[in-house]
Symmetry: C2
Subunit: 168 residues, 2 copies
């Protein structure tokens, strides 16, 4: 069943913010799902579902064990917003063509070989959306963010308490 | 509650096809909801909901009475795919920012004046999608459609049976 007033899942916002935070931790360090949920004020049990989807596509890596957690699966300049959106929402187009042009009762089952012009135009628009998201990396986002000194210091304190580093 | 794997309602496809068909009928003529539903092989009761949304925004006009029905509210070169999508799905962005950046426990209620960079990038992508749909009119779509002779003739027969013309 389709719903009207199409909206992305809240997981998109959560996932992008988590990847942006993980891109700011020292190399090799990880953050647990609990820490990321606390940082963003979101549900641990929902968040972990989204993080697992990011692991599945290689955007994140999951390090097992008591000092484990999540870290980037590749460098932040190689993770685009679209990689994250696709991991959470899937690859299927938002517009679903049911080929209703072929249902005309005066001439049933007559579907031209050429794709439906309406379908083509709807997919072209989605391509523009995708291209825009593919043009923005997590590195781009983090470079744009300007935090106040107070916020930066508070972030460093928080990170010291929550960062997990591998045993040397 | 958000759902994952975001999809537009089937109403988008139905509505665009109906407007394209109505753009092909002689000026002043109308088609009933029942005729449009039959033409596209879709549910009358669902279709009329979508057609009413198109009337509300002026894409269609509803002519009351036994010889009434639906017709274009303005010329086909002034109806874009986006006009129809917006009428069905509403104006709200697909990406909903919950400002989770402001929830950081180390420094709560600290939301910078500048919009969230992630939010801005997501909205920019939607703008590209919208611009693409705003660039395609129903006239453009109908000019691209090439029907076979058999299909054109069957369409003319069907239209003769279903077209409602105003009493002279």
């Amino acid at each position: 069943m389709y719903t009207e007033g199409v909206k992305f899942s809240e997981g998109i916002e959560w996932a992008i913010h988590c990847v942006a935070v993980l891109a700011s931790v020292p190399t090799g360090g990880t953050l647990s799902n609990a820490a990321l949920a606390e940082f963003h004020g979101v549900s641990e049990s929902y968040l972990v579902k989204h993080l697992k989807k990011l692991v599945k596509v290689g955007v994140l890596e999951s390090v097992p064990g008591p000092r484990g957690g999540f870290r980037l699966g590749r460098s932040a300049d190689r993770i685009t917003l679209y990689d994250i959106v696709e991991a959470i929402e899937g690859k299927e187009p938002m517009f679903q063509c049911e080929e209703i042009r072929g249902r005309f009762p005066g001439c049933p089952h007559h579907t031209p070989a050429k794709p439906c012009e309406i379908h083509a135009a709807m997919l072209k628009a989605e391509l523009e959306w995708r291209k825009s998201l593919q043009g923005v990396t997590i590195q781009d986002i983090n470079r744009q963010v300007k935090l106040s000194e107070e916020r930066t210091q508070a972030g460093e304190v928080w990170l010291k308490e929550h960062l997990r580093l591998p045993v040397q």
